[in-house]
Amino acid sequence: MQERIVTITNRLGLHARAAARLVRRAGQFTSDVELVSEDTGETADGKSILSVLLLAASRGTRLTLRTTGEDEERAADEIVELIEQKFGEEVSDGVF
């Protein structure tokens, strides 16, 4: 199992589009992906958008990311990267 701590830094938090990206990315791996909000202690299945949305992680929320499975290391790396790059949001908002 891989465990990483990440902070949501994009301004709007884990809203629908960001969550969609996260879930799509998580879905590329066979490993289980789990996110735990340090604020609420709630756990989300990283492959379920509903579950991720219900974490309601706003900007500044710290999350523990756990990946378990064959490709756990790569999964953890790539998901952390996506979060740290703020979900590529800046270029996709319809506003420059």
Partner: protein, 597 residues
């Protein structure tokens, strides 16, 4: 007046934000009613459970198929970036947890699929509503959107099948979701009126891109408007009138008919030049804020971009700043899209009432405070980053920069010094760029207008920003209802200032452009060319209308009309003169132009 009477009374006027110009007269279609299906709790037998689960699965599959289709359509018609939201909706329908929970609900509680969908999504929506972050709390509507879609499919009837509207409608909704827009049959949508939203809301952006009149930010329109009600939308004024009386409908129908005749379909003649009857060529450029507008430039016949409001890049991201590379990508897109015609990048006009940077306090009097160039010179690294991005992107076209809110020559000199330094640093570091970057001064402070000759000698061009200039000349905040009537574009002080600027530009042989809402109003645009302005920059959707106005007049006659106008002591007398004179000069366009301000 109580709300109950407002839902019935005639001529209910609501003010919102003018999001997309044009007049529409028609019937209301309340979009959010679409989802209010009657659905019932039906207890089912064990045998029927399998049947309900099959219905659910089929509905999910159909929902996914439709969303995929909409996603493609939205990406094609409005650009890739709009389609992301649909991906979230699609993922919800693909969400194994959601599907499992729905099936579980049907199985264990032995209910019909509709009931399960409602119950399960309501639980999720409820949980979402308890979130403390207001933005995220809003996202409950995504879930509602998805639930609605499923219920619509399950109920087997699309009461309002949006892609097959058989009559023209004006869409009234709290907010219009991209997924909804993707479904709309644009040929039957005359306009939009929404409770929420600002100039950069999806509704506004989409309406402008499509050239459909829209008023947003009406706050309570959904409380008063019912499907089938008559409604008038004035997208230029930001006004709607519900259940208008016959005379009001008549007035606006006339206005719309005139508008339409003048506007010509945007596609029809974008190529024809904006030339007066006596052969004087006027350049019409576009004011641009958003990426989606770039694609509409050609459609509306814009000759390059006269004003790119670069601070809009910050909108969704403050306090984070766009990186140099991100900005470069945007400026390059502008440069490539405008080619020879070029694009004016107004450097960040932040602060004041617009957008604030972290670390800067709210000011008591923001309009007169630390904003625009004042802020750029104070937080120089932001300015320098922007300049580097512009200089690099300038390799791909003809960019120019415009400095907003200049009031002293020192500001211009400081900005020029910084630009020179940035160029030198880039040259020394071997960074590819195009240093041929003309620098313009925005004339929007009366001090700058009075000193225009001095600025003309040190800048490459002048650009008049009428919105701020008028506010500062007349000391009127036009957003303040108590004094909005004093915001008068035809005020003699404004006309004298404009005439002065034209004279200076001629004497000093410097290029003069004008941007601002005046340029988008046909009457005011004609007045401006009569004063001697030759380049106007305006919202792209208004270009065809203003172009047709220009093509209907003779510049010589308009000029002498404005010479008369300059002698008049009040804005209302100027308006009266124009309203009397223009229909005579250009009956084809101005006949029966309303004489009211």
């Amino acid at each position: 007046m109580g709300s109950s009477s407002l839902t019935r009374s005639r001529d209910v006027k609501l003010r919102g934000i003018a999001a997309s110009p044009g007049v529409a007269v028609g019937r209301v279609l309340r979009l959010d009613e679409r989802g209010r299906h009657q659905f019932y709790y039906i207890g089912v037998s064990t045998a029927q459970v399998r049947m309900e689960i099959r219905r659910l699965r089929e509905a999910l599959e159909e929902g996914r198929a439709r969303l995929r289709e909409f996603k493609v359509r939205l990406a094609r018609e409005l650009g890739y970036e709009h389609s992301f939201i649909l991906d979230a909706h699609l993922l919800m329908l693909e969400d194994e947890r959601l599907v499992a929970e729905l099936e579980h609900d049907i199985r264990t509680r032995r209910v019909n699929a509709e009931w399960a969908v409602r119950a399960v999504t309501d639980r999720a929506i409820e949980a979402y509503k308890n979130v403390s972050d207001p933005y995220l709390r809003e996202r409950a509507s995504d879930l509602e959107d998805v639930a609605t879609r499923l219920l619509t499919i399950l109920s087997g009837k699309d009461e309002f099948e949006l892609s097959k509207l058989d009559q023209d409608v004006i869409i009234v909704a709290k907010n219009i979701w991209p997924s909804t827009v993707a479904e709309l049959d644009f040929n039957h949508v005359l306009g939009f009126a929404t409770n929420s939203g600002g100039l950069t809301s999806h509704t506004a952006i989409i309406a402008r891109a499509l050239g459909i009149p829209a008023v947003v930010g009406l706050r309570e329109v959904t409380r008063y408007a019912k499907t089938g009600n008559a409604i008038v939308i004035d997208g230029a004024e930001g006004e709607i009138i519900l259940r208008p009386t016959r005379s009001v409908v008549k007035d606006y129908s006339l206005k719309r008919a005139r508008d339409e005749k003048r506007r010509a379909r945007p596609q029809t003649e974008p190529a024809s030049a904006a030339e007066t009857l006596d052969g004087v060529r006027i350049t019409l450029r576009a004011n641009v804020e958003l990426s989606t507008e770039i694609e509409s430039l050609a459609r509306f016949g814009a000759e390059g971009i006269g004003l790119y409001r670069s601070e809009f890049m910050f909108l969704n991201r403050l306090p984070e700043l766009p990186s140099e590379d991100e900005q470069y990508a945007v400026y390059r897109k502008l440069a490539e899209a405008t080619g020879e015609a070029g694009a004016n990048i107004r450097v960040f006009d932040l602060g004041g009432d617009k957008l604030t940077l972290e670390g800067f306090e709210q000011e008591n009097n923001p309009a007169l405070g630390l904003r625009a160039i004042r802020l750029s010179l104070k937080v120089e690294h932001i300015f320098r980053t922007q300049l580097r991005a512009v200089l690099r992107a300038n390799l791909h076209g003809r960019l120019r920069v415009v400095l907003p809110l200049i009031s002293t020559i020192t500001e211009l000199r400081d900005a020029k010094r910084i630009i020179a330094e940035v160029k030198q640093e880039m040259a020394e570091a071997g960074v590819d760029h195009n240093a041929a970057l003309p620098i313009g001064v925005m004339i929007e402070v009366p001090a700058a207008a009075m000193m225009a000759d001095l600025f003309a000698r040190e800048a490459d061009f002048l650009s008049i920003g009428t919105n701020d200039l008028i506010q500062y000349i007349l000391a009127v905040d036009r957003a303040n209802e108590n004094v909005a009537h004093l915001y008068q574009p035809f005020h003699p002080a404004v006309l004298r200032t404009l005439a002065h600027l034209v004279r200076v530009a001629e004497t000093e042989q410097v290029q003069l452009e004008l941007c601002g809402e005046m340029a988008a109003d046909p009457l005011q645009a004609i007045a401006l060319i009569g004063l001697g302005i030759r380049t106007l920059s305006l919202v792209p959707a208004s270009i065809p209308l203003v172009k047709n106005a220009i093509r209907s007049v003779e510049l010589e006659r308009v000029r002498s009309m404005m010479q008369e106008a300059m002698k008049l002591p009040s804005a209302s007398e100027v308006e009266e003169l124009l309203a009397r004179e223009l229909p005579r000069q250009a009956p084809r366009f101005f006949a029966a132009w309303p004489s009211q301000p």
